[in-house]
């Protein structure tokens, strides 16, 4: 009897590759969502206004807001989907443990968040090209990755963590739902009732304030939030039995 003994890292690597392939369809969904985002950005730019005596001035602002918003929803959906029983069962014929599968999920979600963040930022440039071609409007301010790389990078990094955080929350809630629908209900109910207490609001506002202090504190908040979601979810997954 000769037994195979592969290390955790080796197997995890294969598993991440496997899962990335399995979730390629998710990327197609992301692309569709982003195309919708591009169209929506074009339809309704943020910040329109007009004043004056004999000149009507109309200033439109194009930002990646809608794209980020949609990417977040997508990430939440993917996080949720990954915890579904049939998705987790996909790895079972192969070499895995629950915890490894969960870590693999986290790695894949991080990779997807990075991809989603980068593509969302780049999609904004497609929006820009269309508005440039559409009409000869005067460029009031053109903040782009060449003229202001620091803004681009700062926001890119922030978005990636922001998207990841949504994925983590989705993953966490999904895992709770797998464990017990009641617990999920309680958590959601507690969260929303917290919002109506002054204490809960203070915590929320305080967190938002810390997050808006700067890139690093924002990243810190996102990392703590995502990490706690992932750790709890992985812990839950470790004990979760797989049907099928």
């Amino acid at each position: 009897m000769s037994l195979t003994n592969k290390t955790f890292a080796e197997t995890l690597q294969v598993q991440v590759k496997f899962k990335l392939h399995a979730y390629l369809g998710m990327i197609v969904y992301l692309i569709m969502v982003q195309i919708v985002g591009i169209l929506m950005s074009l339809m309704g730019p943020t910040g329109m206004s007009s004043v004056s005596s004999f000149i009507d001035i109309n200033a439109e602002m194009y930002t990646p807001t809608v794209l980020i918003f949609l990417s977040n929803l997508w990430a939440f959906y993917v996080g949720l989907l990954m915890t579904r029983h049939d998705q987790r069962a996909d790895i079972m014929p192969f070499v895995s443990t629950r915890i490894m599968s969960s870590i693999g999920d986290v790695v894949v979600l991080v990779a997807l968040a990075v991809y989603a963040g980068i593509t969302a930022m780049l999609s904004n440039y497609v929006v820009r090209i269309v508005i440039l071609l559409k009409s000869n409007k005067h460029m009031l301010s053109d903040e782009n990755m060449f003229s202001a790389p620091e803004v681009f990078i700062e926001n890119l990094v922030a978005f990636i963590f922001f998207i990841l955080c949504f994925a983590a929350v989705g993953y966490f809630l999904g895992m709770i739902a797998q464990k017990s629908k009641k617990v999920l209900f309680i958590i959601v109910a507690v969260f929303f009732s917290m919002l109506f207490t002054s204490f809960g609001q203070e915590i929320l506002l305080g967190t938002i304030k810390i997050a808006q202090f700067g890139l690093f504190s924002f990243m810190g908040v996102m990392i703590i939030l995502s990490a706690s979601c992932f750790i709890v979810a992985t812990f839950l997954a470790g004990n979760l039995e797989v049907k099928g």
Binding site: M1, T11, H21, P93, E241, G244
Partner: protein, 299 residues
């Protein structure tokens, strides 16, 4: 050396006990048939061995390790059942390609040849296959992993007879070439008797019997003869099965160890000895009711 060891396993689903007091050991490089009626916990037991489910109490070791959440056990064991799932976007070839990366001993050539033999298109999708085709593919997958512990849960469900025969043959050939520990649960015991070395019989969540097939064949004896004579002879003995054949003829199965009577005498009274097939014996052993469905209709 025993590869699988179970001691006092109990598994509860809510309040219902699916398994209780399960204690057995399975030796290396043996093919064991896991037999039992519907709902006796065969699937649950296999899932515990594969590490898919955790037992409520008791200890299970596979390669001296607890299978639940164990990477080593996962890498060296596989459970094949008809609920196996693969990502929807993977075609059969994709699945096989990944298996190569996951399983150290994966035999890609064998898998490819079997796929071709069973006329499974590598470009087709697992979820599009018919039940029998799906199980054929799962079987190929299980065989090609060459895992040291290979667990088949009802692998031949939905396959037609010709395919079943080929599958048995393939299993036997590959086992002889690469001996390993195989457990097969199946309802088709008589079809695969020639494959099996040991039988593990479960009844209502307990181990009813764990013996080699040879022992099993000699475990019981069937008596066929006039009802009155048989009743007389078997009085006070444990009857495994009895059946009224015609109005005054009766068939009874006894444990061989109890049959200490004089063969000659029995023959004179018109009672014939009959061997009991393993399949029938397993049925009798797990039948809580004496008699059969006919008795329901004969009041």
């Amino acid at each position: 050396m025993s590869v699988i060891q179970c001691e006092n396993i109990e598994k509860k689903f809510r309040k219902k006990k699916a398994l209780q007091n399960i204690t057995f050991q399975i030796e290396d490089e043996k093919i064991t048939g896991l037999v039992g009626r519907n709902g006796t916990g065969k699937t649950t037991l296999l899932r515990i061995l594969a590490g898919f489910t955790k037992q409520t109490s008791g200890t299970v070791t596979v390669f001296d390790k607890t299978p639940f959440n164990n990477l080593f056990v996962s890498a060296n064991s596989i459970l094949i059942n008809d609920q196996m799932q693969f990502p929807g976007s993977f075609n059969l070839q994709d699945i096989l390609n990944y298996a190569t990366e996951f399983y150290g001993k994966w035999d890609a050539e064998l898998a490819a040849r079997l796929l071709q033999y069973f006329r499974l298109n590598p470009q087709s999708y697992h979820s599009d296959l018919s039940k029998g085709m799906k199980n054929t593919f799962n079987f190929i997958f299980g065989l090609a992993t060459r895992c040291d512990v290979t667990l088949f849960d009802e692998p031949i469900n939905g396959m037609d007879e010709a395919v079943r025969k080929d599958v048995y043959r393939a299993l036997l050939k590959d086992y002889l070439a690469y001996p390993r520990t195989i457990i097969i649960s199946s309802h088709f015991l008589d079809e695969m008797e020639h494959l099996l070395e040991d039988i593990l019989l479960l009844d209502e969540g307990k181990v009813a019997l764990h013996k080699s097939l040879d022992e099993l064949r000699e475990y019981a004896v069937g008596l066929l003869g006039p009802t009155e004579a048989i009743k007389r002879w078997t009085a006070g003995l444990e009857v495994l099965h009895e059946k009224q054949v015609v109005s005054n003829q009766m068939y009874t199965v006894l444990k061989a160890q109890d049959c200490t009577f004089n063969e000659q005498q029995l023959l004179q009274e018109g009672i014939a000895f009959m061997p009991v097939s393993a399949n029938d014996l397993c049925l009798y052993l797990t039948n809580s009711r004496t008699g059969d469905i006919d008795d329901v209709f004969n009041e």
